[in-house]
């Protein structure tokens, strides 16, 4: 029991630091990547001076994130004169917390056997193994949808409680957009569930560890490329980022539902957005990119097609798997940023039309085709 608790705490600590780290680093990546994409340098002004010297550490502008955080913390917290200050105060947290919670069900590695890492640990942990996942739940994917659906409430609360027309309109937009794409999101994932026959994310990942046709990794994206595309698009829309960032529209609605938020409250919204990028990355990785799997890799080491195999110690396997997961997540995040700085945004009507008239039918079609295929192959 103690061992379970320790492991859970370690995992939770790891998850939080990963998410926070991603949230922080993505602000920097977003800036820098955008700059590099557009032939610029990007943020590079914030520095830390080594005390009593003139040496200034710039470090490629990494400290901008820190400066942002400090700024948000120190700024005056303007509050609108609202009748619903409780909702106003709680809304950022309602947005922020579910985003963090989603990560609880996502496997960020294979199995961890502490005794294999270091002998003395066997005293505490025995030779038990734990899947590297905070909550090993059979309903994993459902939990994901359940929590991510909560952020809509946060956005609506924020918009409503700000007692500002722009905020309310922004919140309405956010709400309708998120609900619409939530649907698409769900439908796209249904195909995978049909194939893998489970909603347990760990099981889904393990399903993806093999190969297909002898050489292709058995990733979701190989089985469901179409669904992968739709999923990513819908997820971005869910996160309200370009090209679907209609809830925030400076020229029409200022900052949308969080117009009236300032200082760290506003920071929470922003932070939630960046963490959500990471969450989307993690989900996409888990569902379509094989999670922590590297192609041809097993819990014991590599087994290449053609019989060659490389055995690895457990510690190396664990680290490789965790690293693989993080790398995949990072790449997906980076891809999202690439999309954000590439595509022009939609008009608001187009956003909804796109969801209901284009993606929804496509997702349905994909589901039907998948169902037929699974039925045919299975029978």
């Amino acid at each position: 029991m103690i061992a379970d608790l320790v492991i859970a705490l370690v995992f939770i600590g790891y998850a939080i630091s990963v998410l926070m780290g991603f949230g922080t680093i993505l602000t920097w990546v977003e800036r820098k990547q955008a700059a590099v994409m557009s032939d610029r340098i990007g943020a590079n002004r914030a520095y830390i001076r080594i005390p009593f010297t003139q040496v200034k550490l710039v470090w490629l502008g990494l400290f901008h994130g820190m400066a942002d955080g400090l700024k948000m913390l120190l700024k005056e917290d303007f509050k609108p004169r609202t009748y619903d200050w409780y909702a106003y105060a709680v809304a950022p947290w309602v947005v922020f917390t579910p985003v963090l919670l989603v990560f609880a069900v996502i496997p960020f590695g294979g199995t961890l056997t502490p005794a294999k890492l270091w002998e003395p640990l066997a005293a505490v942990f025995g030779d038990r193994s734990w899947p590297m996942q905070i909550a090993t739940l059979d309903a994993g994917l459902l939990i994901v949808f359940a929590f991510s659906g909560l952020t809509i409430i946060g956005a609506m609360l924020a918009g409503w409680s700000s007692s500002n027309k722009f905020s309310l309109l922004g919140a309405l937009r956010a709400g309708s957009q998120m609900i619409s794409y939530e649907l698409v999101l769900g439908l796209t994932v249904l195909g995978l569930i049909l194939i893998y026959g489970t909603v347990d994310l760990d099981a889904i990942v393990r399903h993806q560890s093999g190969t297909v046709l002898g050489f292709l990794p058995a990733w979701g994206i190989v089985y469901q490329p179409f669904a992968a595309t739709l999923f990513l698009a819908a997820a971005i829309a869910e996160n309200k980022r370009i090209p679907f960032d209609l809830p925030e529209a400076e020229s029409e609605l200022i900052a949308g539902y969080f117009t009236e938020y300032s200082a760290m409250k506003m920071g929470l919204f922003m932070f939630a957005e960046f963490i959500e990028i990471a969450i989307i990355g993690a989900l996409f990785t888990t569902l379509f990119l094989g999670g922590y799997n590297l192609p041809y890799m097993t819990d014991a080491g590599f087994a290449f097609p053609g019989g060659a195999a490389v055995a690895m110690p457990h510690g190396a396997v664990v680290v490789t798997q965790m690293g693989t997961f993080l790398l995949k997540v990072f790449l997906v995040c980076s891809f999202q940023i690439l999309i954000r700085w590439t595509l022009p945004r939609f008009r608001y009507d187009q956003v909804l039309t796109f969801a209901w008239k284009f993606m929804f039918p496509l997702a349905l079609a994909n589901l039907v085709v998948t169902a037929v295929a699974v039925w045919a192959i299975g029978s």
């Binding site: 990547q33 700059a35 590099v36 994409m37 557009s38 032939d39 610029r40 340098i41 990007g42 590079n44 595309t229 690439l338 999309i339 700085w341 590439t342 595509l343």
Partner: protein, 187 residues
């Protein structure tokens, strides 16, 4: 009925399929990203922007209107004769000149005691340069470190304008005065 615009894009099927075009766009921006990233990683500069002010551009257009320079005569005194033409023509009225009188210098008896430009209001239009009859004020193509912490420190005075010489010496070779036709003035 939807309004037809004269510049409405004509899209073929491929373009209307959306996804390929998106991929093409991503390929373009991604290509730029990869190329620039490669440059950065190999120690080159993958950006057009400059690290201002540590790094200033060397390729300002020659016609760029940067900060003002007061030119000097060969002896180092300002070329300016304090005629106030620049101050008069200035649309933002940012130039203030106080004239002095030096009867000893027969060729240039009027000189600026005070020549100040308020850069907090200057619009860098260059009319002062056009108006100057003496080629005493120019605008260097370089842009200097102008920002300041309060508006009063954005008044730059004669000394600063004279000494700021990004292109080195702006002393103008001044032709020798024409031979003086003797007159009946008593010696």
């Amino acid at each position: 009925m939807r309004k037809q615009y004269w510049n409405e894009a004509e899209m073929g099927l491929w373009e209307r399929a959306y996804l390929p075009e998106i991929l093409r766009g991503l390929a373009i921006t991604g290509g730029v990203f990869v190329r620039n990233m490669f440059k950065w990683m190999t120690g080159r500069k993958g950006a057009l922007t400059t690290y201002y002010p540590e790094e200033t551009r060397w390729d300002y257009a020659p016609a760029n209107r940067g900060k003002h320079v007061l030119t000097r005569r060969a002896d180092g005194s300002p070329q300016c004769v304090a005629c106030n033409m620049c101050a008069t023509v200035c649309p933002a009225k940012v130039i203030e000149i106080e004239a002095g009188f030096d009867p000893a210098d027969e060729a240039h008896p009027k000189y600026p005691v005070r020549f100040e430009i308020d850069y907090s209001r200057c619009v860098f239009c260059g009319l002062c340069v056009e108006a100057c009859p003496e080629d005493a004020i120019r605008m260097a193509k370089e842009v200097p470190d102008l920002p300041a912490h309060d508006r009063w420190s954005m008044w730059l005075g004669k000394e600063e304008l004279l000494e700021w010489q990004p292109q080195g010496d702006v002393a103008k070779p001044y032709p020798p005065p024409p031979p003086r036709v003797p007159n009946g003035d008593r010696p």
